[in-house]
Symmetry: C2
Subunit: 105 residues, 2 copies
Amino acid sequence: MTDDRVFKALADPTRRFLLDLLFTRDGRTLTELESELEMSRFGVMKHLRVLEEANLVVTRRSGREKLHFLNPVPIREIHDRWIDKYTERHTTALLELKAELEDES
Amino acid sequence: MTDDRVFKALADPTRRFLLDLLFTRDGRTLTELESELEMSRFGVMKHLRVLEEANLVVTRRSGREKLHFLNPVPIREIHDRWIDKYTERHTTALLELKAELEDES
DNA sequence: ACGATAGGTGACCAAATGGTCACATGTCAA
DNA sequence: TTGACATGTGACCATTTGGTCACCTATCGT
């Protein structure tokens, strides 16, 4: 199963935070990402490698730097696996209701 | 973080298979789900508990039976976290292209 | 009432995972 | 060309996780 890498990659909070960082701005280098985390460079590197092998992050080399980009395709595939077209409207409605309730509290 | 439970729950292939089973047909009991897996009842029970705590599965008791239902809401939330509305069209197009390519091969 | 059936708990073990470090390679800039 | 900087590798350790089992409780049908 190739999807296993994706889910394993998403299982760690640090890796999700890295995706969040790349979601706000793409094309960052390892050292730039490292500066946002309370962790050694090696730890961050390991996490980025896992994300890359899961195809959630794609990279491009530029001289001695390696630029990281978010790839949303695998996320979309997760969605499509358990949300069928018929009930999607319903699910969205539930989410909006939940958001409203949380705003009030 | 409450989302941590969701991602941890999805990280295991057995749990994803359980979700697949419930996706095809809801309202199954523990023993019915167990019969579909090569694992002891206790293993399946542990997995179902993790899914339930992540709110990916909701349950209802009926006598001595416990019925399990798939809840798609957390899946939808994952999607919305990293797919912004603007690029969603683009991602869908990529997926369709990928599906076409795989059909041909 | 009572055996059979459905579900539940806690302890326990092997394997996978997250994190750090010493050390190494490649590239920039003066 | 040489020192500083960006990235990479392998070994290593503590913790978490997946799985099983002995034992227990609750409910059904007869």
